[in-house]
Structures are given as structure tokens and as C-alpha cells.
């Protein structure tokens, strides 16, 4: 595989040449070594759920059943549900951490404050809590308690966080299908039970359980995590920063925050500022923090911390030889980081009790001691800086200016500069008159099986040229940032005429002195909930359902189980959801056909759409948007 087949990111291309010269193994080498990958696993027709197995189904004949009698459809559906339970568990666990932190703050036991009291009030009001005469601590405790009920509801009633925010039409649809979740933990547990040996064999029933997992992910994972994190750390506002490995500084102590949960990374950023003097005493010009994956997105959105690189670049960041310390929390952290770090001087520090890596140092994180731990980690980075071998340092000259921080609140605020009384009107009018054809959210990962960033960038350029407004989160936002698409200059360069006019009008009214970027960075993977909020608000405004909007979602290079559970939430919301790599479901025509077919669309309004060619995918999405426009009569 040539360097150009591995990545379109110029910094990553340079670093790939360096790792080759340094004899360092990366994710692409390991993918090569894994070839050929198992066809049974690829199709999803391998079952390891009991000790009578492992069983495989022969797609061309016998055996057509596992030892227990499960056929391909049962096995594929069960495996998918387990994948979704994994992805959902990750987001729900993330949200739970944030809720615990809020509770600890309310009790006065955490080293954090509440930064957005307005959002706390708004959430409390929406939850039907009494806000009058309650101080911030009391209100925070009440909201945290209500959030915890998402995990402690032992009745058949629907999960509170979903009931409070889901549109009525969606609630009715989900109730009719019997997929309303009761309690996030209970549903994840039930999915594990349902898929264990000798329980559910009905692929349709299993797929309905998949929809339920999607709803748990969307509301008890994404939405809950974003809401509580905004309360604690503040709701993002447009902010300028930079992206790609060129943000590392040769004369600074370079600290990278990697993972997903901002509880520690926020503190690390704070302590990097506080210990600048110590770094200078150690001979550095200062301390530079940069992010990888979604913990990077979290501190970018709220503090403008620059981005080092996305998922596939994590090893390459270490290969610059300029990273003195990489602190990781949970999710998407390659265990290989410890091996790569050994070839350079940088230290890997793990922090979460469920995420330890052989070869990394572990500094356990806690809400109460977060300051002390962050201080310790930054001091380690300064110490590590002194060990840096200047001969091994090569920082690519690649960095790109970006604008991020587009929370739902920030978008509404920008729009209110155009129309203060009716902020959504200018956006809805632009959609109605066709200046904006529709909107697409590109989200999710990199996957070593696809050229890094290529699907994201190719697809989005096609979409914005056709006047489709794009919002992005996660590693997709990184990919688009590196390609220059998160900058206002890209509007003139890549956006269609209609989209350009709208972005310029809003940008100028909002006092940006130019257009908004053609791609709005809405945050981390859990911040996909912001996109959900925006769509619900637009649908409400138009008096239609989310499923009727001229919109689509896309994970152009999905890798993680989380991408599947987010995608399932999007489908459940009624949205056409494109995936650029097929999940392991093709071994069952019943499952694959249902997920992508008319039946699911008639029931939920959304469906999955698999297309590996990014240009064809953009065409398919535009066709879908046009069909939705026709149905709306616009």
C-alpha cells in the first residue's frame, strides 16, 4: 500500500515516511498483516456466544445453522445487537461520568464549577423541575438526580431524558413499535441477555431491540453527556483555532489529550496554563496542548485548544518525536501507542480505571482530586520534555486555520443577528427557497480500510458545491478541518452559489466580517445530540416530523461500535444514514435488507444506506434530499 493509499492528510503522509525510516510499526502495517481478514467475520456469520461454538454459517450451502440451530439471520442480528450494546454502553458510561461529576459539584466534592447556569436552568425547566428560589447547587443536584433516574427507573415508564426531549410524533412512532427504552442500564443488560445462547432467535425482534439501543445511545448517551458537559464546562461559542500536526511546537512542552471525556482534559488544559513558568525553567518556551479524537474536540469547542490529528493519526503524532506526554482517557485509544512511544521519548499516561495499557503509566483520575492529578501529569510532561531527543524531532509544516464551537445555541445566536424575533426563519426560508438544498451531518471515525479522510473530504466537497449545508462532529470534523473546510475562506472556494449567499449573509450579520464556514463544527461524537436538537427545532418550526426534513447523516469511514449505535439513533430519528464501509451484516439478506430497505423506512422514516464510493454517496444523498423536498412541496 502506498503512502497516498493510506492517507490524504499531507502531515500524515510525511510522518508515514518518517515511521518507515524509524522502523516503527503503525495501524496500516497491522492491517496488512491481518490480510486476508476472515470472510465469516466480515459477513457477520460467526457466532461465539456459547461454548458449543464457535460456529460459522456457509453462505454457499451447508452448514446453514450453528450447533444450537441458529441460522445466518439470527446470528447476524444477534451480533449486530451486541455491537450496538457495546457502542451504546460507551456513550452511556461517558454520560454517567458527567452526571456523577455534576452531583459531586452540587455536593461540593469536586474540583469543578458550573459554568453555564443558563443551560442548567433551561434543562431544569424542560424536566419540569421547580427553579424558583433554588440556588445553583440545589438546582444542579435536582438535575443530577433526574439524570440518574435515567439509570434507576425500575418501572415500565419511558426513560426520563428521552421523554423530556423527544418530539411527540417520534414518541408515538417508537411506542407503536414497542422500542421505547425504560432505563439505560436495563436496556443494555437486556440486549446482552437477549443475545445469549438460547434466548432470541427472531431477527426482526432482534432488530427492534437494535432500534431501542439506538434510542438509549441518543438520549442517555449523546444528549445526556452533552447537556451535562455544557452545564459544567460551558456551552460552546464560535472560536478560532488550528488543526493538524503542525500545531505541535518544537520549542514547547507538547502535551496531547486523547480520548473522549473532557473531565480530565479540561483540567489538564488548565494546569498547562498554570505551570508555564515551570516549563520555562526547564528550558521550554511554554506548554502547548493539542487534542486527538473527541476529548480534543471537547477542549477545542470550549477553549480553542488546537487539534493534533484524528483517529488514524494518533501513532503518527508520537512519531513527530515532539510529543512529550500523551494523556488518554477512554475509547479509540490504540494499545499500540505504548509501543510507538518506546521508539521516541514521549510518555503515555492512562487515567481511567477501565482503560489501562501495558507499557503506559497509570495516574488514576477522580473528580475530587482532578486538580492534583492534572498537575502531576503536566509536571511529568515537563520532565519528559527534558528527555526529548532533538535529532528525532520532525514536525510537519502542516497546520490549517479553523473555526469551531457551533453549538445549537451558537447557531441560533448567529441566526438571531439576522432576525432577532424569529431566529430560525432565515435558515428555514433559505431551505424553502432552495438557496440551501438541505443539510447533511458527517460524523464518525477513520478506518484503516479506507484512505484516511478521503471519503469525508470528497463527499463533503460534492455536497457543499451542491448547496448542501454540512455540519460535522468527531473525527469527520478533524478530516474536514485539515482539508480547510472549517474555515470561512472555504465558502467562497467550495460552496455553491446559494449556500455561499446564505453563509455570507449570516456571517456578516453575526459580525464575523465574512461568511460562516461551509462546514459547521458541532463538536465531539456525543455532540451529535446537538445536531439532533437542531433538527428537532427545525422540524418543530416547519410543523413537520424530523423524518420529513431534506436532510441526511453520514459516517463516511466508520470504525467503532459507537458509530453503529449513533447511526441507529439517527435512523430511529427518521434520518437516511449513509455508511461508507459496510458493517458485518451482509451474511443475512433479511438483516441487511431490513436495515437498508423500504420496510424500515416506512416504520421509522429513516434507513441505512451503504455506499463505499464517496462521490456516488454524495449523489445518492442529494437525490434523497431532493425527494424529501418534493414531498414537502418545496
Amino acid at each position: 500500500m502506498s503512502v497516498k493509499d493510506k492517507t490524504v492528510d499531507p502531515a500524515a503522509q510525511q510522518m508515514l515516511q518518517k515511521v518507515q525510516a524509524d522502523g516503527v510499526e503503525t495501524v496500516w502495517d497491522r492491517l496488512q498483516e491481518q490480510q486476508p481478514q476472515c470472510g465469516f467475520g466480515t459477513l457477520g456469520i460467526c457466532c461465539r456466544n456459547c461454548l458449543q461454538g464457535p460456529c460459522r454459517i456457509n453462505p454457499f450451502g451447508k452448514p446453514d445453522r450453528g450447533v444450537c440451530g441458529a441460522d445466518a439471520h439470527t446470528i447476524v442480528a444477534r451480533n449486530l445487537l451486541r455491537n450496538l450494546a457495546g457502542g451504546t454502553a460507551a456513550h452511556v458510561d461517558h454520560a454517567y461520568d458527567a452526571v456523577e461529576a455534576l452531583y459531586a459539584i452540587a455536593e461540593g466534592n469536586a474540583g469543578y464549577q458550573i459554568k453555564d447556569e443558563g443551560k442548567l436552568q433551561a434543562i431544569a425547566t424542560r424536566l419540569g423541575l421547580e427553579t424558583e428560589g433554588r440556588d445553583t447547587g440545589e438546582l444542579a443536584k435536582a438535575v443530577a438526580q433526574k439524570a440518574l433516574e435515567t439509570f434507576t427507573n425500575h418501572t415500565d415508564d419511558t426513560m426520563g431524558w428521552l421523554k423530556a426531549w423527544a418530539p411527540r410524533e417520534r414518541l408515538d412512532t417508537w411506542r407503536e413499535l414497542g422500542v421505547l427504552p425504560r432505563n439505560a442500564d436495563r436496556e443494555i443488560r437486556e440486549a446482552m441477555h437477549q443475545t445469549t445462547m438460547g434466548v432470541d432467535a427472531d431477527p426482526v425482534n432482534l432488530l427492534l431491540a437494535c432500534v431501542k439501543q439506538g434510542l438509549v445511545d441518543g438520549f442517555a448517551g449523546l444528549k445526556l453527556a452533552t447537556d451535562i458537559q455544557d452545564v459544567i464546562f460551558g456551552t460552546p461559542k464560535p472560536i478560532q483555532s488550528e488543526t493538524n500536526l503542525g500545531v505541535l511546537k518544537a520549542d514547547h512542552v507538547n502535551v496531547i489529550v486523547h480520548g473522549h471525556v473532557p473531565l480530565l482534559s479540561e483540567k489538564v488544559v488548565e494546569w498547562c496554563n498554570k505551570l508555564e513558568d515551570e516549563a520555562r525553567e526547564a528550558g521550554a518556551a511554554g506548554i502547548n496542548v493539542a487534542g486527538i479524537c473527541c476529548t480534543g474536540n471537547e477542549v477545542l469547542m470550549r477553549q480553542g485548544v488546537p487539534q493534533a490529528t484524528n483517529f488514524l493519526g494518533q501513532e503518527l503524532a508520537l512519531a513527530t518525536g515532539a510529543v512529550d506526554l500523551m494523556v488518554v482517557d477512554v475509547q479509540c485509544i490504540m494499545p499500540s501507542l505504548a509501543n510507538v512511544a518506546q521508539c521516541y521519548h514521549g510518555e503515555i499516561v492512562s487515567t481511567m480505571p477501565i482503560a489501562k495499557i501495558p507499557g503506559a503509566e497509570h495516574v488514576p483520575f477522580s473528580f475530587e482530586e482532578a486538580d492534583r492529578q492534572a498537575e502531576k501529569i503536566v509536571r511529568k510532561a515537563i520532565k519528559s520534555f527534558k528527555k526529548r531527543d532533538k535529532n528525532k524531532v520532525q514536525i510537519p509544516d502542516e497546520k490549517v486555520s479553523i473555526v469551531a464551537g457551533f453549538s445549537m445555541e451558537a447557531i441560533v445566536e448567529a441566526l438571531s443577528k439576522v432576525n432577532a424575533d424569529d431566529p430560525l426563519k432565515p435558515l428555514v426560508d433559505s431551505i424553502k427557497d432552495g438557496a440551501i438544498l438541505g443539510a447533511v451531518a458527517t460524523v464518525g471515525c477513520n478506518n484503516a480500510k479506507a484512505t484516511q479522510d478521503l471519503n469525508h473530504v470528497t463527499m463533503v466537497k460534492e455536497l457543499i458545491a451542491s448547496d448542501v449545508l454540512v455540519v460535522a462532529t468527531g473525527c469527520s470534523a478533524y478530516a474536514l478541518g485539515k482539508a480547510g473546510l472549517l474555515h470561512p475562506d472555504a465558502t467562497a472556494k467550495y460552496a455553491g452559489e446559494g449556500l455561499k449567499k446564505v453563509l455570507t449573509a449570516v456571517g456578516e450579520a453575526a459580525g464575523l466580517g465574512g461568511p460562516l464556514p461551509p462546514v459547521l463544527h458541532m463538536g465531539s461524537c456525543v455532540d451529535n445530540s446537538r445536531i439532533g436538537d437542531l433538527l428537532v427545532a427545525l422540524a418543530d418550526y416547519l410543523g413537520v416530523s424530523v423524518k420529513d426534513l431534506p436532510v441526511a447523516a453520514s459516517a463516511p469511514e466508520p470504525q467503532h461500535e459507537k458509530a453503529l449505535s449513533i447511526g441507529t439513533w439517527a435512523v430511529a430519528m427518521g434520518i437516511l444514514t449513509h455508511v461508507g464501509l459496510p458493517p458485518a451484516v451482509l451474511g443475512s439478506d433479511v438483516v441487511a435488507g431490513t436495515l437498508t430497505g423500504e420496510k424500515i423506512e416506512s416504520l421509522l422514516g429513516g434507513r441505512f444506506y451503504v455506499e463505499t464510493d464517496p462521490k456516488a454517496a454524495a449523489d445518492g444523498i442529494i437525490k434523497h434530499i431532493k425527494a424529501k423536498r418534493r414531498a414537502l412541496g418545496i
Partner: protein, 163 residues
């Protein structure tokens, strides 16, 4: 000439060779397309086991093929140039003599059940699909000299260990 040689110690019984063989002999020769389009196909390699040892077996393409000797219609013939025992289905009369003659059980009935089916050693591929799909290197497509040299080295290692 490269031969398909098996190292049973390395076979984990994953059946990837069988899947790859069936895909290679499907119309599209592509896993996703073959499954999505429901193309009919079957493997000509068989992973057998006695509970302890797994052995992937396919036609050995013998120098003196018992199957061809038993074939009365000339449907099975050894090609001197390639060393392959080739099957001409148009000439097969379905007498199953070859099935009885093959000591390895490498000949099966075709899906239509009128003629036989056997390994053609992948005429469109440099490395047969089964060897290409084997994740542990249990199925090798190598010169006999290379295989035997490896065997001798392994014997030496064991010999030294036991002394």
C-alpha cells in the same frame, strides 16, 4: 513447480480456505457480490478433523492420478505442461469411478448431482484461493524444496531439544 502443501500443525480449523474456494468459483469471484446476488458455489477443499489434527484436503493433482486412470470417458486428464489434473465436465458421464479411486476423498458430486466436482487449482490466480486465504500459513503454495527444507529445520529443532 509450486505445489499446494499442508502443514496440519498450523490448521486451526477456521474454514477460511473453504469460503475463499467457494468465492473464487462463484460467478463474481467477490465475497460481497456472491452473497448479495445469491450466486451458487461450493468449495473443493475440505477441512477434516479427527478431533486432534485438522487437515485441509483438496485434489493433490497426482503425477499418476488414480482418478484419471479410472475415468472411462476421458473427462479427467493430467495436463503434462501444468501438472494439473483437469476435469472436462462435458465428457463426464457420472459413473463416480474417480470418486471411488481417489484415496483422499478429494472428489465430490457437483451441485447439479450429475457430474463430479474437484479442485482446478484456481486457473485465474497465481496463488490458489485456499492458500491465499489461510491466516496461519497451514496451506502453502511453494516449491517442494522450500517446504522440505523448512521441514528439515523443524526436525532439527525438535531433535536438538530432545537430546
Amino acid at each position: 513447480m509450486q505445489q499446494l502443501l499442508i502443514d496440519p500443525d498450523r490448521c486451526l480449523g477456521c474454514h477460511s480456505c473453504e469460503l475463499a474456494c467457494a468465492v473464487e468459483h462463484a460467478l463474481s469471484k467477490d465475497l460481497f457480490a456472491a452473497v448479495l446476488n445469491k450466486e451458487s458455489s461450493a468449495a473443493s477443499i475440505f477441512v477434516e478433523t479427527d478431533g486432534e489434527t485438522n487437515l485441509p484436503l483438496q485434489c493433490r493433482h497426482c503425477q499418476e492420478p488414480a482418478c484419471a486412470n479410472a475415468c472411462m470417458s476421458g473427462a479427467l486428464q493430467r495436463d503434462a505442461e501444468t501438472g494439473k489434473v483437469l476435469f472436462n465436465r462435458d465428457r463426464c458421464v457420472g459413473c463416480w469411478m474417480c470418486v471411488m479411486a481417489c484415496p483422499f476423498g478429494a472428489i465430490e458430486q457437483d451441485r447439479g448431482q450429475k457430474v463430479i466436482s474437484k479442485c482446478d487449482r484456481c486457473p485465474d490466480r497465481e496463488v490458489p484461493a485456499c492458500a491465499g486465504a489461510c491466516p496461519t500459513g497451514a496451506i502453502k503454495f511453494v516449491e517442494i524444496a522450500e517446504y522440505s527444507s523448512d521441514r528439515r529445520k523443524r526436525y532439527l529443532t525438535e531433535f536438538v531439544k530432545e537430546r
